[in-house]
Subunit: 499 residues, 4 copies
């Protein structure tokens, strides 16, 4: 049964995507293209835009990077002049990498059209899908995003807005949706505000919605609002109406957005991501200091944390690793040796910087540990005398049903090994993680009635709400992994939180 769940829903588990929408300018297609470009880091496996051309929605989508998709066959030119548009960049595992799953989805009705772009993951998707299928619904993608379309369409509520509200109330999990009809643009966020979602405004007055505020800057829009948990915002020719579909809300934004997913130049709920990361580095330095000569961050994602770490300890923050700015593609079968090669194609150590130095290597996270091992080796080969690894987030020990792949979860280093074992595996002189408290403090969200305003389930297994269809998988995970923890409780509990 568990297997079945995983088989049919595996795609939904990986959806860390970017969405963008705009209403009311004849440059809607171009603006959406530029906005998605700014969100490309949230998904590189597919991209699409649905745009309103003369009252009809038209869909353009393809596999691969945004610029590649839209450089083929004048696809952007075909939708130029559109007066509204929504777009999507998609992250997905290779298995589900088929064109049907690339968003925005578009449905045609005799009297209308409906397009949808989704960033998130529904934890009751299996249940909903089965119920819908039992009522005769046909799914043409394996993505959970299609479910909302069916729920809206089946709703008996009087107005379209009412239908959308009714449908949203049936969803569980984390989700940020953009809906486009020929008449309006809608933005909706889940009751826990699991994903970032912002509204901006162009100098000329038009409204823009985007996964991250960085996308607003690129198109020249000003951030005017974080979409709030439970909100349903409608934008049409009369302006913007802020409404809500539920008031049972409780902010629990995914801490991973601050740690890894979002761009450093984005602000989420008033907190700048770069600044938060710098504070994570500083807190990490305070919790896990180490005697060293230089601090080296893993480019690009860990540079903020490294600078905070270095400042806190008054150590020089040096460019000991350089990242090749061109995307590497290996054409050869991936073997262990080749994987090491792939890391080398992306990163190089700067010998003149690290030679004979005691290096603190600051990284934002560790998943399997393999990449860390290669980087540690690389630094040693370049002459580093010691390599102390400091991770600017707590150790990943639990699966997240909101953003990380189950299969990857099964290989999580920190769910299977003690800190000593991990240190040995990555061949470091020492290894330490930021505490959950240190993380929460670094992000510094205003405290919420029910908690920190953050979801930290990856680190502590505490989900802000029931996980529905994943409950069995979770149990299976715990059966498989928690035993290990139990066998070595002091190490695990001790070292990973305060140490």
């Amino acid at each position: 049964m568990v297997t079945k769940v995983m088989q049919t829903t595996v795609n939904g588990l990986n959806e860390e995507c970017g969405i963008f929408g705009i209403w009311g300018t004849t440059e809607a297609a171009e603006v959406t293209y530029y906005g998605l470009h700014a969100l490309q880091h949230r998904g590189q496996e597919g991209a699409g835009i649905v745009a309103n051309i003369d009252g009809r929605l038209r869909q353009e989508r393809g596999l691969g990077l945004l610029a590649d998709v839209f450089s083929k066959g004048d696809r952007l030119r075909d939708i130029m002049g559109a007066t509204s548009a929504i777009g999507h960049v998609r992250y997905a595992t290779s298995g589900s990498n088929s064109i049907e799953n690339i968003q925005p989805l578009l449905a045609h009705f005799s009297d209308s059209q409906l397009a949808l772009a989704h960033n998130g993951n529904l934890t009751n998707q299996v249940t909903l899908r089965r119920e819908l299928e039992d009522q005769g619904a046909i799914f043409q993608s394996t993505s959970d995003s299609e479910i909302l379309m069916h729920l809206i369409r089946r709703s008996q509520a009087p107005t379209f807005t009412d239908k959308v509200k009714e449908a949203l109330n049936q969803l569980r999990g984390g989700f940020a949706f953009l809906l486009l009809t020929p008449d309006a643009l809608y933005a909706a966020l889940d009751p826990h505000g699991f994903r970032p979602f912002v509204i901006g405004q162009l100098p000329t007055g038009q409204y823009v919605a985007a996964s991250e505020s960085a996308a607003l800057n690129v198109v020249g829009a000003k951030l005017i609002r974080n979409v709030q948990p439970g909100e349903l915002i409608k934008i049409d020719n009369t302006g913007m109406q802020i409404d809500y579909y539920t008031d049972a809300t409780d902010l629990h934004i995914d801490a991973m957005e601050y740690i890894y997913f979002a761009r450093p130049d984005s602000d989420i709920y008033g907190v700048n991501v770069h600044t938060a990361r710098k504070r994570m580095g500083a807190n990490l330095a305070a919790e896990q200091p180490v005697a060293a000569d230089i601090v080296v961050g893993v480019p690009n994602s860990s540079l903020s944390a490294a600078s905070g770490f270095a400042e806190a300890l008054h150590l020089p923050n040096e460019m000991g690793l350089v990242k090749n700015q061109y995307i590497a593609r290996t054409f050869i079968e991936p073997t262990q040796e080749r994987r090491e090669h792939a890391v080398k194609m992306k990163l190089s150590a700067v010998s003149s910087v690290v030679k004979d130095k005691r290096v603190v290597l600051v990284d934002d996270s560790i998943v399997r540990g393999t990449t860390s091992m290669y980087i540690v080796r690389m630094l040693r080969e370049a002459g580093a005398k010691e390599v102390h690894v400091r991770i600017a987030s707590p150790a990943f020990k639990y699966p997240s049903f909101y953003g990380i792949d189950m299969q990857t979860t099964a290989e999580l280093m920190a769910a299977n090994y003690s800190l000593a074992e991990m240190t040995a595996k990555i061949e470091a002189d020492s290894l330490a993680f930021l505490s959950v408290d240190g993380l929460v403090d670094a992000i510094g969200l205003q405290e919420q009635a029910s908690g920190t305003g953050l979801t930290t389930a990856y680190f502590d297994g505490h989900y802000p709400s029931p996980i529905y269809d994943y409950a069995e998988s979770m149990q299976a995970f715990e059966d498989a992994h928690l035993v290990d923890y139990m066998e070595e409780p002091t190490c695990k509990m001790h070292t990973l939180q305060p140490e």
Copy 2:
């Protein structure tokens, strides 16, 4: 209202497609590819295959010719080893030329999958679609083929076969369907047998279904059965079961299949297409003889008719026109002059053959008349003394809701001009068409209870069954065009048959 109908259904009007399926061999993907190649003449705008790989249906489809679609990215290799497959080649107007409409369609259910390939046109598609939408159905294509999937899925009948039967009984119009599930392959034909559809068998025993018998030859299968009107045939690991979903059947195959659509090497209901065309030419010669030196057929589609015409009048059948075997593409905006150019890139007159000769030009049909005019001119420029045009089919005067585009219908030369006007327009010395009786006789199908076994609605406006959603369009067409007929009644009726 009429406009609305046309807007939402215009795609369905153009579906002259080819379908192919096979069950039970590990070469299912390759065999389907070869079979579709033999059906490429039935649709060049899109191609796809859904194949069963290890119990999961996988879809590969794209815009353009079959070989182009499957030469990209190893798409055929990805489905090799499949044990069953269905495929589709699609003809469509440019407007609907989007990937969503390329078949086979594939729907994913929690517990199964369903793929569908369709050749035909549903005359009650607008009504059905609205009913389905009212029940919450979501359509992701603008093709009418998607309707059957919804009807099957919504049926409350006990078994899958019963559901399919119930669904088929709700359809009107002409249709040949292939359905593929992980468990079986189904073939269904409409009650009038509007489109050709055959079952073959490989020497190794497996069953094959195809739009035309020519596709059987190519894959080495023997024709064992014409699918009969009203039949639902199921092929699975236990063999083939022939069943029917209605007994209110009445063969009325589209006469255009014999005239133009099908390959000359196909047999339809026991009649070879080449042989039927040759007899059309012979009957035309008997009805509309002309004093001439040579007969020239328009390659390739009219060569059979030309040979029948020449033999009947004991005239030499000469290669006065040569067709360039490579597909021409013009990269320049189509103007009147360019259209003439496009014809020149396809066809050339052989001066040494036609010089100083009285030429009978045999063509299979005339739609707008423009191409005929260019060919007549070309022959005259090459030195032909006289050019007498003989059309081996009756004049197209009525729209067909089973296979020809409404917009084209509006431009039908024979619906708008008298024979004398048409002769002048195409700049011929004379022009004559085959009579409907001559056509029926040439095809020579066994007489049916209710008629000739043929649909000749293009020529006489007689549809074998009500045309449902098109009734309004038909009325509009008649309002616009029949006046012309009325004004010149003797010409129309008189000239077009015996003259």
Copy 3:
């Protein structure tokens, strides 16, 4: 040594190409594109155009069909507005299928540019190339066409025209060249007129040069002149000047142009190709009659001969084989079985035509015999009672250094087997070839001082001039093959002509 020659020159042996040029219209690029399209049958492996844009020559070329090459990246649009252009379609074996060999070649000089398109084969290319290399010349292609560029450039003659003449006089073999500089267009033909080459004129006065007259028709030009052996024609803004670089000329056009290479609607030296083929069929019928019910030609190249054959014997000429008009591509490794498959994808037998009939199968030529065997089998499977194969050309027994690949030559069926053996190999009831005299008579060129005006070396080994660098290869071929002839001399000489 022989091996060495073959290795470095193998590409040159396969050049059966098409060339086209125009001077003095701002539609030069488009006209060249259309002209090349009409010559596509002469080469499908590469295509290119060099066009004069604002006084600079610009090169566009690529692998594959013309339309595919120029549909990529707006390549035609980039050269629109050019005032002169030359183009090339290339036939080549896969080994030499690299972009460097695609023509027209283009050389850049400080003070000028020179482009070249070549149809032919130089028999002294190895010698010339070595001499040039010894003088420091650098070759960037493996094609022999590059040699002329070097010879022109190295000539010390006073004017460009003189340089070209001096260079042409050093070449041996068959060649038709188009040269383009920013100042003029040049057309040159070898002293034996081995390849067809014509000049046409547009209604607006501009001159056009093309490999075949069919290309003139397509662009609306009138044939005004066959380029004569030994001529060098210069076209520039002052008009056309007809000059010659040698008067040691002697027409020996390749008979294969009439038999197989050229389009039926082309006229070569006043003889229409279709008409010549029809006469080949008629002569074949007279020489090799057979009691049969129907005649079937192999489409499309043998349809003319089949019609001549049928007329001569008063037999019905039937469409017993149908050709798929779409290009087949097999994605699977070529095995014996697959090769049969490839034939089936191209050709189908029409059972209702051939069933229970004694069939005369008319083909234009036999190379290896394998395809013939598959077609004979196909006809028998479709029910033919007898299959008599009649080849409308003499048997290929000798290599041609002007147009057919050495390696293929080694497999020539007629060079290795007796007629009885060949008949058995292709599984025919009988087999016969046209005699050389019958061929010469059918083409009917005006007799020349030195012979028939034709090169028939493939059939009789008589070359119009020494074969230079190929002499060794020829000796090797004879050593390998002539023994077979000697062993069965009566058969060979006897059977192949009158039988």
Copy 4:
């Protein structure tokens, strides 16, 4: 005359490329691919590899990024197993962006083959090309790299090595060449060592040559030698022989390699590039201090300098600008507004970092000044109170005939405006450049007999040797620009060095 020179040689002026070669491993193609990937920053407009497959050199090349070129059609797979290879990544202006100019070039001779990859620019290319053309040489590219091939081929010296030496002695300018024959790999550097060029060795003993040492790291090779000015190194199955073709050498490596071109993790003549840049920043801080709150470097190229600047002044080095790691493509005509857009797609200001701060913006260079203006604006829009621009290199006032495009030179901001004007143009609160002395000190090369070991001609117009064919262009440049300097001499001289 000047115009003529520019027209025919404009391509040569832009060649800042990357080259890589290896001898003696069956992974030669893969290693070259990885090596070129590490050099991709040196050229993104074309890439190619020539590899030795079974004794024959085979060429694969195309327009665009390396990974795009080699992902098409299995091009890398086609050369796998090669035992030696050279590769090239090319930087070029769009005008010369044709496939013929993509390297490595490959010439075919009857008895051998020669491939060539070149990084540099020949200052006597016009003269050499004309001389060669006068001797009959044909050029198929417009690149100056082809010249060496001709010189080698024409040399009458006894051995291939002697020919190469003789040819190299005729070249002037800056050049690093890799030559590959079936028998050996050669590396040659110009007498001034204008471009970086290194030799490495794999753990398994094979030798590798590359433009930068960073490429050695990626393939796992150790740097064993900087190729010295005037050297000709031969690598074959017997090992490596270090030879020289001239002893009139004098190191003058291009200072721009340290400032901008090379990767920070490369070492050139023993100086690490990152470290040199950091010292440039430190020297700049010492020369041009400014009262400010934070230092912000322009990512990625100026991050090293910014860190040096910040450290020297004890200011926080902050991430005030973020670079989008995905390559932006704009599909819309470039207008002034769009150019600003392109900068926004690449860079974003981090408001929470720069808000209300006095910012020192550190950049590595200014060419036209437009980008600087957009960045200054961006920082102000993000809330920066003051923006002081500090350029970590001297002002570009002179054309360089070794690496920067003449046309760009004509637009050099510093050649046309005073410092005050420049400051106003870029809308900065202040602007200052590093002095030439500060640059030389920061790089810190060992002093050479004749100077600093560096070429600083961009800044001071002092070329290490005559500039031959460019002398006229240089004079024209001075005539056009130096007047401006003369009119405002105090400003220019004064402000730009110490200020």
